[in-house]
Subunit: 169 residues, 2 copies
DNA sequence: AGTTTATGTCAGCCTTGTTGACATTCCAAG
DNA sequence: CTTGGAATGTCAACAAGGCTGACATAAACT
């Protein structure tokens, strides 16, 4: 089923992909990712946090009340690594960890107002860059952008990604 | 094609960009980048190298005979950091450092055959994923993908990126 | 001759990833 | 009710790869 999608373009020539073009795409990913993280990095730095904190804040905000285990799966790091970050966020009063009501072994994670404020600042910086890029590239491009990115994810991850709010545009 | 993309082409054009959509794009970047680096990471690991080595190999291959300084600009790290990586690559016989002919203070960097072999293995893994993603998404999407990524880079970087072989598709 | 540039290198620090070991809590199956 | 195992937290140790600062050379420039 994955095949046959080509026909969509009226039998158009199906991607002549030279190594050159592919390498160019690879470089585009590399450089764009740098830009993508540059703005939040500056804000984080001013607060004494790193990218790991940003990721935690982002996904806690995304899925209010998520458990630690769920967060581990999404982030793809070890619990020890996440825990270090999480601990400082909790100590600093950005994140609240509540004992689960159904299963009291679990902890449900929430942003405090303070945490929400920082998350908002970080994501606003990032959204602003994304918005600008989208504007510069146009609507057609935006659709293509998402399609390629999604196709590039590992299967397991893509499922999680698609299940995260907003199913399909 | 129906030019102008959407319907509205008037003044404040197109793109209703909800925060939701922007956040979704941000997550797509995050997850896709993970997939993007997953395959090379496995190969690198087997050789006892890390992502930093991959980046060095990639750009030395891209611009044969580049100087250390040039590489520093492209990679955006300190010379100490690059040097650590470069030293092991030279010691292991993957990279050759020749004294500059015009200016003998400079070192020109080249991949040895061994270095070329590894670079090829790494980039082939990455190109394969990129190729698959492109195929799955279609030609339109590919163009859009590159456009958005380029718009997302910092200006300075974008210039370097565009000047790197293959000027514009 | 004196200054600047390109590179290398030593030392030390930080973040964020890893493993392994172990304690605690507490759900759920027997 | 006991117990196995899941979910979580935490301690310790280590590695990669960023960073800064200081200093050494050699070559080029003025």
């Amino acid at each position: 089923m994955a095949e046959g999608s080509n026909s969509a373009m009226g039998g158009e020539n199906l991607l002549f992909l030279t190594d050159e073009q592919l390498r160019k795409g690879i470089e585009a990913m590399f450089f764009a990712y740098r830009g993508f993280t540059a703005d939040p990095d500056r804000i984080l730095d001013a607060h004494g946090y790193g990218r790991a904190h940003h990721r935690a804040l982002h996904f806690i905000n995304r899925t209010h009340g998520t458990t630690v285990n769920n967060l581990l799966n999404i982030l793809g790091v070890t619990k020890q690594s996440l825990n270090r970050v999480l601990r400082t966020l909790i100590e600093d009063g950005l994140v609240e960890s509540r004992v689960g009501r159904k299963d009291r072994r679990e902890r449900n994670l929430f942003l405090t107002e303070k945490g929400d404020t920082l998350e908002r600042a970080l994501s606003e910086a990032q959204r602003e860059r994304m918005r600008a890029a989208y504007r510069a590239a146009g609507p057609q491009a935006v659709a293509g952008f998402r399609q390629v990115l999604e196709a590039m994810m590992d299967d397991e991850i893509r499922r999680q990604y698609l299940n995260m709010r907003d199913r399909r545009t």
